[in-house]
């Protein structure tokens, strides 16, 4: 039997080293991404691109964020068991929110809206959902019950 070739061993070592680096950096990156003192656009791009997110198989996922929970419940309504629910699906769900959902949304966002009005004068629904996804560090899960 042959041994593993050197070139493969070297690449494996390099990748393992970089994986360890990635794992060790994740906490710091996540702290940066959830710090509202920095511009959302930068934080979101970094979170999307390099942060290791929480990916879970076969769970009925419970979210801390009332908005993300609401978006998730809307999204899974028509899904089959075992379908993957990812962060981008939930973010897209915002587009389907209409006037009819006003009451639910008002309830979910009441406190947030007040503080955001004080801070920015305008409330950006999409931006708020991005912040909440980063706080949950939500990647994906498979829908099950």
């Amino acid at each position: 039997m042959c041994l593993i070739p050197d070139n493969i061993q070297n690449i494996v070592s390099k990748i393992e080293e970089l994986e360890a680096f990635k794992e060790n950096s994740n906490g710091e990156l996540l702290t940066y991404c959830t710090n509202p003192s920095y511009p959302l656009k930068d934080r979101w791009n970094i979170w999307k691109k390099v942060v290791t997110k929480s990916e879970q198989d076969y769970l009925k996922r419970d979210f801390k964020s009332p908005l993300i929970k609401y978006l998730n419940e809307r999204y899974i309504k028509y899904l089959e068991r075992g379908s993957t629910v990812g962060w981008s699906s939930l973010l897209n769900e915002i587009d389907s929110i209409s006037e009819r959902d006003h009451k639910d949304i008002q309830h979910i966002l009441r406190e947030v809206t007040i503080s955001s009005i004080l801070e920015d004068k305008e409330f950006d629904f999409y931006a708020y959902a991005q912040e909440e996804l980063m706080k949950e560090n939500f990647g994906s899960y498979k829908y099950d019950w």
Binding site: I15, K22, S115
Partner: protein
């Protein structure tokens, strides 16, 4: 949130760039992704080469191949996965 904090945050939002330590980490992680991507073919050749032990090829394929491809066939046997990877 106190008014002072709101003003400070707004000023920071206008002026603050991505911290240098974060930039460096992102750069290194970008490089890592490239290394991983560029080495796929080489790994593939190794994994489908039967002159090497299956255990080694299997272990390497799990740790270094694109995870999505492995996940699709996670119910197949080890040998079938190696075959699957070889065909992609």
């Amino acid at each position: 949130m106190k008014i002072g904090q709101i003003i400070t945050n707004t000023l920071i939002k206008i002026n603050v760039m991505i911290p240098e330590s974060i930039k460096q980490k992102v750069k290194k992680l970008d490089e890592a992704a490239k290394i991983r991507e560029n080495s796929q073919k080489e790994f593939l050749s190794f994994c489908r080469n039967k002159s090497y032990p299956l255990t080694d090829r299997w272990r390497r394929s799990l740790s270094n191949f694109n995870y999505e491809k492995i996940r699709i066939v996670n119910k197949l046997s080890k040998t079938k996965i190696i075959k699957y990877v070889s065909n992609t």
